[in-house]
Symmetry: C2
Subunit: 182 residues, 2 copies
């Protein structure tokens, strides 16, 4: 197992927007031939599974422009400059569902979201004893908050009602904790 | 709940490569203001969890250029023009680990992989009674095949050893079947 099987001979940003950018690298492939690798550079994102004191789960029904569909999701967002991942998670919980808790958020996993094309790390949290208040949505966000029993939400993952892969991953990562009583 | 809260006023491809492209839409946001939404357009991808007749799982250790790391993953790939998702899954299983089975592949889930920025659907399969042969790697692929007990692989999801989100999702979607005897 070689440490880095590709060589990078040059690198430039070929497209960018405020949320991510595309870096195009000229490379030498493992078989010695020249090639190109495009890497979408993106800051980390966080996903938070909010659980109420009664053990229910807070979902948002979120319009996603990319696919023109409404999606059941847990609160999520990208880490802003100067924020830690944990700070971003606390902020998104507050902004998207008005959620607050005195419990420390528990990191339940850390995964690259699309390692074939993108360098974005995703960090997944469980937030317990969440109290809900007024959300503080950004102008472009269109979403509604719903509270559902944990068993129903886990069923939604397996039945096709939840179509967001990162929400499904976040929920399955803490499935055993969500099923446990109390 | 409105059906489509954004209006699209124009649309153009602003960047492309052979694997995906960026479509930039001029939009009217729900609060009536003009805005821009960039959508990464990508064909569907498939992930396949290969299980041997002994109930062990076939993983590949895959070098990922985007993050300069070796990643434990299940076989995966994008759906090529003219292929169905199922055909792509059968092909990737054969190409990446030389895997074949007489059992029908079972679809265990269907999720958008990154619905905030991308329209890519992901389809996740379980392949049982997989026999391994010689992989047929593409020139740019650098990977090794490993066979591991199911319990160990599920532990790798929760312990941080598996860092690919889609592999973690695929494994967790069939965790109960993987844990079941026989």
């Amino acid at each position: 197992m070689m440490n880095k099987p590709y060589q990078t001979t040059s690198s430039q940003i070929v497209w960018s927007c405020p949320w991510y950018r595309v870096r195009q690298d000229q490379i030498i492939t493992p078989n010695g031939r020249p090639g190109v690798y495009n890497v979408i550079e993106s800051p980390p994102s966080v996903w938070i599974v909010p659980v109420t004191p009664a053990g229910e789960i807070v979902l948002i029904n979120n319009y996603r422009y990319t696919i023109d569909q409404w999606c059941w999701e847990v609160p999520a967002g990208s880490v802003k400059p100067g924020q830690t991942e944990l700070e971003a998670a606390v902020c998104e919980l507050k902004e998207e569902v008005g959620g607050e808790t005195d419990d420390p958020l528990v990191e339940i996993g850390r995964f690259y979201t699309a390692n074939g094309i993108c360098n974005e790390p995703g960090v997944y949290y469980l937030a317990t004893n969440v109290r809900l208040g007024e959300p503080e949505h950004e102008a472009t966000e269109v979403m509604e908050t719903h509270i559902k029993p944990a068993a129903e939400v886990l069923h939604m993952v397996h039945s096709g009602q939840i179509t967001d892969g990162n929400t499904a991953l976040a929920l399955l990562l803490c499935a055993e904790k969500l099923r446990a009583p109390g």
